[in-house]
């Protein structure tokens, strides 16, 4: 059973079809990036999953059940939705104390959670004076208060400074890879999550456009390309083609498909050709993302 299973989920707000037949799953121990431009339907999907929005059709299950059917939701799912979900006049500790009281968790959990996100020093301070980064940490503290096995994070990097983003990445890795949690993290900025996600689900205009591992996305359905530079490029291009490669030449650089780095190196050695550069081209992920989501690169 998948930790998160979304099947044929659809939701309209008036004439706007916010989510249109989206299906995907998230397994325990993995981080899945839920990517798409702003307004693509990410938040609506996540809010349906959490029982805050009632879907028109389809299902969204956590640990095989609808969120509203969970008896102790905080112990199964931790969610971070927006950084502004706090009463400004309430202290960080009291915010968590209210949650613990409602969820019948010992109040000690509040102190633990604050310590884990590095907010123990400001536990007694009112949220009014908190920076965006501190609010985001407090939101994460609320998500982990019941020590759940599933995390749903909606744009958690919003408003974080580079150090905060670094911390967040480490934190998500820790949750998924050390504690075995399933992490679903949405973002409209691919670069924020590309370093840490195992899988990606890409949504645009309410529809799912791509789903799979990060590696599959990078290759984008095409064979990987190796860039080769050599002084005798025309001759070497012919050689490579004899060995089964497809070669594209431009400005003295050969872009080779159908042969991997090792075979090209061997061929060069056999033919005694001096290579001055050889790299595996990493598809421009941002470009792929923009193409998939139908956004023009500015």
């Amino acid at each position: 059973m998948a930790a998160i299973e979304i099947r044929d989920l659809s939701k309209s707000f008036g004439p706007v079809r916010a989510v249109d037949g989206v299906s995907f799953t998230v397994e325990a121990g993995t981080i899945t990036g839920y990517l798409g431009p702003n307004g693509a339907g990410k938040t609506t999907t996540l809010r349906s999953l959490l029982g805050l929005v009632t879907a028109d059709s389809g299902s969204a299950l956590v640990n095989g059940r609808r969120y509203v059917e969970l008896d102790h939701p905080l112990s199964e799912v931790g969610a971070v939705l927006e950084a502004t979900n706090f009463h400004p006049g309430r202290t960080a500790f009291n915010h968590l104390r209210v949650l613990c009281t409602a969820a019948r968790l010992p109040v000690a959990r509040a102190e633990d959670a604050l310590a884990r996100v590095g907010l123990a020093d400001v536990a007694g301070k009112r949220v009014l004076g908190f920076s965006m980064g501190m609010r985001q940490r407090l939101a994460l503290a609320t998500a982990m208060i019941g020590d759940p096995g599933v995390y749903i994070l909606d744009e958690p990097a919003n408003g974080l400074d580079p150090a905060g983003i670094q911390w967040l990445r480490g934190f998500m890795r820790h949750l998924a890879h050390e504690r075995g949690a399933a992490v679903l993290v949405s973002s409209h900025v691919l670069a924020e999550v590309e370093q840490i996600v195992d899988n990606v689900v890409i949504i645009a205009k309410g529809r799912l456009v791509r789903q799979g591992s990060l590696a599959e996305l990078i290759s984008n359905g095409q064979a990987p390309v190796v860039r080769v530079r050599t002084v005798r490029s025309e001759e070497f291009a012919a050689t490579l083609e004899r060995h089964g490669g497809q070669v594209e030449a431009a400005d003295g650089v050969l872009r080779v498909r159908g042969l991997d780095v090792e075979s090209i190196a061997n061929i060069a050695l056999d033919e005694r050709v001096l290579l001055t550069e050889m790299t595996q081209e990493r598809g421009d992920l941002q470009q792929i993302f923009l193409e998939l989501t139908g956004e023009e690169q500015s």
Binding site: V53, L74, V98
Partner: protein
């Protein structure tokens, strides 16, 4: 019970509740002071508008002054609901308790508790003022059936107005808008239709008219009270308003998409 405690904790971990309590006590205190100061003074037609301090009528009518706090009870009820939407804490609330009927029940109970607590506070203030006044005037503190009815009425009025505010808050959600609506309704609309004789047939069915009926001791401080419903009917009307607005709070909160 955990949920009710959580709802009460939401109120007590912010500052508004004691500001509201203080403002309410000051407001009721001023009303009490005014009535005590001018008790027994002859009115324009030579008759006293306010019964003299040593009379039973004075004591009976003074106990009912606390219903003036109903306005603040209603505003507090509004805030208990609208601050959830204003700061979007409703999201967290429903994540902790996705079975929304439980949240609504807890909120209604917590609101009643708060309303009764406010009622006890104004009664304590009234009692204090009355003891001091009556003892200084050289009379005895009296407890009659009417006094008992008025005491219970004050508690009920404040509790029901808090529920009324909660329901209005669930309906309007915008905090400022809901507070303005509650002020306009209670302070302006109710006062007007109960003060203009031609509108009084309508006025007696308003929350204000029903409140006046509940605490009516026949002393109108210069105003005619004969148009009011009997006390029991006033109680029922007020209860009907509270139930209507509780139902509105429930239906809207149960069904709404939280985006």
């Amino acid at each position: 019970m955990g949920l009710v405690r959580a709802e009460l904790l939401k109120l007590t971990t912010t500052r508004l509740w004691w500001v509201m309590l203080l403002v309410m006590l000051v407001y009721v205190g001023i009303s009490l002071g005014f009535l005590i100061a001018f008790a027994g003074d002859p009115g324009p037609n030579g008759q006293a508008l306010i019964p003299a301090r040593h009379t039973l009528a004075f004591q009976e009518s003074l106990w009912g002054v606390g219903t003036g706090g109903a306005l603040f009870a209603a505003v507090l009820g509004v805030v208990m609901m609208t601050s959830e939407y204003r700061y979007q804490t409703i999201t967290t609330t429903l994540l902790v308790t996705p079975k929304r009927a439980r949240v609504v029940t807890a909120k209604l109970i917590a609101t009643l508790v708060v309303g009764v607590a406010l009622g006890l506070a104004v009664l304590a203030l009234t009692g204090l003022a009355l003891v001091v006044t009556v003892l200084t005037a050289g009379g005895d503190l009296m407890f009659t059936g009417t006094v008992g009815r008025v005491l219970v009425s004050v508690l009920a009025v404040l509790a029901l107005y808090t529920l009324f505010g909660l329901g209005l808050g669930a309906l309007i959600r915008n905090q400022v808008g809901a507070i303005i609506a509650v002020l306009a309704w209670i302070y302006i609309l109710d006062s007007l239709v109960n003060a203009i004789p031609a509108l009084q047939p309508l006025g007696k069915w308003t929350p204000g008219g029903a409140t006046a009926a509940l605490t009516n001791t026949g002393v109108g401080f210069g105003l005619d009270t004969s148009y009011l419903l009997p006390a029991w009917a006033g109680g029922l009307v007020l209860l009907a308003y509270a139930l209507l607005f509780s139902a509105l709070a429930s239906v809207t909160t149960l069904r709404r998409d939280i985006t």
